[in-house]
């Protein structure tokens, strides 16, 4: 298919191809999200001795689609006291970067829909920071105390976990000597997967990404037993769906990033690259659900001190270790 890593001029043809690629990736992401939610409900159910959705379609496969449809046709309620324009803007602000980060993920060996940019890793981290605006403004604009606290907590959490996250992936960047995700995958294709030499970094990444995704045990911003639903408490209908979509697209993106950085991306024996990639992504996602099933929620102050006092020093240590390792070897 089309591979534009060599094409640098923006022509009409390129533009059209880009547009088509975007739509395809969007559809892909939506499909993945739909069935991630389905998988979440199924896995959660199975681990809790339940069946999970099984009504709509064979094995309940259409359940999520029905849910999304329901959300889409619901009334779009805007609280009277809310800040109207920001309330409307926030979900979009949250969603757009979540989708944009997918553009740098190398899904397969012939990265068809992937921008081959030299700072892909940084691109991901930088863009994912923008989502926080959406979350925070959503919480603020709702004019609700729970939403405000949820939004602030969320912002504080994502901001402080972005630091160890960024630090932990730097170890990988050091190993590969590049910030280009394709180069990173290639470097693992020939050698060890980074999970082996970068095990510490991988652990930090796992924890930090869980926090970054606001998933259990770091799901404080939307802790239903404390803040009810956090920043999106006042949202309903398709704006709510947007927030949910953001959350799950990020789950997918983070899984993809994890697979790319630590699990060798699309590389692997026998099977085609895209399948390997899918397997690794699913492994990460499954792990998230598994954790979600086991862990209680961590406390807000512990959350912060954990990030700054444990993860950050550890990730710095990891960088130093990697640097020393790279210098010696």
């Amino acid at each position: 298919m089309w591979n534009w890593s060599g094409a640098s001029h923006l022509t009409w043809l390129n533009g059209l191809a880009m547009l088509i690629g975007t739509v395809i990736v969007l559809l892909l992401a939506l499909g993945v999200v739909t069935y991630t939610i389905y998988a979440q409900r199924k896995i959660l159910g199975w681990m809790q001795g339940r069946i999970g959705p099984n009504r709509l379609g064979p094995f309940g496969l259409m359940q999520t689609i029905a849910d999304i449809l329901k959300l889409l046709i619901k009334e779009d309620i805007i609280p009277e006291k809310a800040d109207r324009s920001l309330f409307l803007l926030a979900p979009i602000l949250a969603f757009v970067p979540s989708f944009m980060v997918l553009s740098v993920i190398p899904f397969s060996r012939t990265h068809v829909f992937t921008a081959n940019i030299s700072i892909g890793l940084l691109f991901y981290i930088a863009l994912s920071a923008i989502t926080i605006h959406g979350v925070m403004l959503g919480g603020w604009a709702s004019n609700n105390k729970y939403a405000l606290i949820g939004g602030m907590r969320s912002a504080a959490q994502m901001l402080s976990y972005e630091v160890p996250l960024g630090m932990s992936v730097l170890g990988v960047a050091l190993m590969a000597g590049s910030l280009n995700l394709n180069t990173i995958v290639m470097s693992q294709h020939t050698g060890w997967w980074n999970i082996v030499p970068q095990f510490l970094g991988f652990c930090i990444f796992l924890v930090a990404s869980t926090a970054e995704l606001n998933r259990t045990p770091f799901d404080l911003p939307e802790a239903e037993s404390e803040l009810i639903a956090g920043y999106h408490i006042e949202y309903s209908g398709f704006r709510m769906a947007f927030f949910m979509l953001t959350e799950y697209v990020y789950l997918f993106a983070m899984a993809a990033l994890c697979a790319t950085l630590f699990l060798g991306g699309w590389s692997g024996p026998f099977l085609p690259g895209w399948l390997w990639f899918a397997i690794k992504v699913f492994a990460f996602i499954f792990f998230q659900f598994w954790i979600q099933n086991t862990m209680p929620r961590i406390r807000a102050d512990h959350l912060m001190s954990f990030s700054w006092k444990v993860l950050l020093p550890l990730s710095l240590f990891n960088i130093v270790l990697t640097a020393v390792f790279k210098t010696i070897v």
Binding site: Q48, E226, I228
Partner: protein, 374 residues
């Protein structure tokens, strides 16, 4: 820089937050008006009564037998024990003799009820702390207990099983064997919960050293049950003022040390173990035959006077206080509701805590709103 007092006094921004009545982790309909400064609770005021049904007042117009179904609805997760508490008081007043078989059935059902109630307490506590699975797991075990009760008395929650002078039904055939099978199964499950919950660092970090109070405070507030025992004070009515046939069984009263939320959690787990021990012994000693209802006058008339007796409920001392004029209905009935008493400490406990600890503390104090509001 010199500060004026005025500048200091207006420094912090206080906020009033309504936790409940529709908040998901208030165990019913319970409202907590919390004044917070930043994340620190300055003042917490429980607002109760959303579930008030006037049980005590209703009782004044009901015969003693008729009151029993109402007690089911007090602490709706331990109805058997509530049933018993009322019957026990009336029996004491009448000085009735209870048949052996009935006593054993009562003990078995009450202790199983204690296990079921504690399971739910632990499960919902973990749910409050954000862990979903334990809540669903405990329901599986509880379901077995509830099924057994269902077979015994035909209801899953509101048993209406005890009667003045005995119990309503004899155990159906094979029921005792079911109970016997249940014990090793439950023990295995308790081990599983230990693995799942007790070692979890996040859980520990949320409950260790949180919501601490000492024995003096507990006694001053009239606390009882696990809340009192968690401070290390050995007080269990089953031991201290044995009622029914508890003195026939060999069991221990687990005690806490620090009086924190962790102690309260672990005491729930340990008490389940002890309850299983009692059930095990009761099943062994279970008389093969005999009546289950003693000789009771057709119309129960409590002689004039005032009566009180308390038993060890799941959440503390559950007592019924009856003033009788010698009629078939009490002149006045007052229930000592352990949840209600335990709740009184909550504002004190929450003062100065962070918001995040609110749920942990509230959950560990373990109230049931049906009982608080009555």
């Amino acid at each position: 820089m010199a500060l004026t007092d005025e500048a200091q006094s207006i420094r912090t921004e206080e906020m009033i937050l309504n936790v409940g009545p529709q908040h998901p982790s208030t165990h019913g309909v319970f409202r907590l008006v919390v004044k917070i400064s930043g994340e620190t609770i300055i003042e917490a005021e429980p607002v109760i009564g959303y579930l008030h049904r006037g049980t005590e007042k209703l009782a004044e117009d009901l015969q003693y037998t008729q009151i029993i179904p109402y007690t089911d609805r007090l602490d709706y997760v331990s109805a058997m024990i509530n049933n018993y508490a009322l019957c026990h008081t009336v029996e004491r007043a009448l000085d009735l003799e209870i048949p052996e078989r009935a006593e054993y059935l009562r003990i078995i059902t009450m202790e199983l009820q204690r296990v079921a109630s504690h399971l739910l307490a632990v499960g919902s506590y973990l749910l409050d702390l954000g862990a979903m699975s334990p809540f669903l797991y405990v329901f599986q075990e509880r379901e077995r207990i509830v099924q057994m009760f269902n077979e015994l008395c035909g209801a899953r929650l509101t048993y209406n099983y005890m009667r003045v002078g005995g119990v309503k039904w004899d155990a159906p055939p094979g029921w005792i064997d079911q109970v016997r099978d249940f014990i090793p199964f439950m023990r295995k499950k308790l081990k599983m919960y230990d693995d799942l919950i007790t070692g979890n660092e996040i859980f520990l970090s949320r409950v260790r050293g949180i919501g601490v109070f000492n024995t003096e405070t507990a006694l001053a507030y009239g606390l009882s049950g696990i809340n009192l025992r968690s401070t290390g004070f050995d007080w269990d009515l089953r031991k201290k003022k044995p009622y029914s046939i508890y003195n026939r069984f060999d069991f221990e009263v687990p005690l806490g040390k620090n009086g924190d939320c962790f102690d309260r959690y672990i005491l729930h787990m340990q008490e389940m173990e002890q309850s299983l021990r009692i059930v095990e012994q009761a099943v062994e000693q279970f008389p093969s035959s005999g009546p289950v209802l003693g000789k009771v006058p057709k119309m129960v008339r409590v002689p004039a006077g005032e009566y009180y007796s308390g038993i060890e409920g799941t959440r503390g001392e559950l007592g019924f206080y009856i003033v009788s004029e010698g009629k078939d209905k009490p002149y006045r009935m007052k229930i000592r509701k352990p949840s209600f008493v335990n709740l009184q400490l909550l504002p004190e406990l929450l003062k100065g805590q962070s918001m995040a600890n609110l749920i942990a503390i509230l959950g560990a104090v373990d109230i049931v709103l049906g009982e608080v509001d009555a």
